[in-house]
Symmetry: C2
Subunit: 228 residues, 2 copies
Amino acid sequence: MAYSSARPRAVVLLSGGLDSATAAAIASQEGFDVYALTVAYGQRHLREIESARAVARALGVVRHVELQVDLSAFGGSALTDAIDVPKDRDLAAADIPATYVPARNTVFLSLATAWAEALGARDIYLGVNALDYSGYPDCRPEFIEAFERLAALATKAGVEGAPLRIHAPLIRLTKAGIIRRGLELGVDYGLTHSCYDPDALGRPCGHCDSCLLRAKGFAEAGVKDPAL
Amino acid sequence: MAYSSARPRAVVLLSGGLDSATAAAIASQEGFDVYALTVAYGQRHLREIESARAVARALGVVRHVELQVDLSAFGGSALTDAIDVPKDRDLAAADIPATYVPARNTVFLSLATAWAEALGARDIYLGVNALDYSGYPDCRPEFIEAFERLAALATKAGVEGAPLRIHAPLIRLTKAGIIRRGLELGVDYGLTHSCYDPDALGRPCGHCDSCLLRAKGFAEAGVKDPAL
């Protein structure tokens, strides 16, 4: 296999949101050539796919794959079905909200694992965060650790003694901490999109969980959101 | 949610091959309404998708979803790329052959998990087999157990105390044992397709791992293969 540079390869899950843009910048800063994977999973709006393209271009990734996986065929989420996105929700509530997409991060990581193995990459980055988040089960450290154990058993590389490493560099950061880290690395948050329910022009609603968490993060970081 | 019957639901991964047809028949016999999932993952031939449809119809599944997930975008396998399928290979060899598709069963199980959670199903069946098989890492019992642990952490149902059960009822059977079990359950193996490299008319090559294992199974079971 021909390598284009001496840097090792990492697959980065890139949604077009603030967190994954930061995770991608961290992967690059940590010495990896970035292979960005965006999954078009049947989300109701494609605004975030456009953001993923812009972020990938700005980061200068080696390759950006957009893969169609229509999870809306299964239903069960406000993000893929005609279920209302909850607004102005109490983010401290313990329940898992309607925007949860069943097994989304398991699907995303399994696809990243497939690509990593085909590329000869040993590293996967994703921007999950277990502090300022919506309470999704597949954003917790114990989920990431369980996936890493699975990948070691699931892959040829793992069997041959070179298991994948799953990097979740934001998992214990606050949203403000993520933004500060990204700004240090030169991430242009004006290219990112977080809203679960944008209007027809792609403008954020300001009231879904994702908008609320983003606003809280920029406020706490003492920075104006360049996307607004 | 309205249930069409009193039987619980199970998601069954259905490839159109001999093993998954048998696993689906076992799920039905064990009391489940079968929701069959076939993943069109960019395999070079679509003959097995046609077989999956025929098997689903014959079994009377409640629903059959065919999901496109183009793993050929990642490359790395003789089943999705322009790499030759190995012929007349020594099946006792310890190496993982070129027909291995990186992380395929991890991707398939993650998709089945997504659908199971959306359906309110607690059970997933798949036809993996660790005895008469090609040595793929993601066909081993330890892989299945690791996925079950992951799913318990990954899903809302798992967090709420109702984790998924991953059933691999063929995992310790020989190919002949699988065939005998399926025939008892009335599986029509004439509808199934196993070959990795069929000709333009969809006829099996007789020389790939999958053809060799199938032929060995029917010979040991003392039954003529109705697909030939």
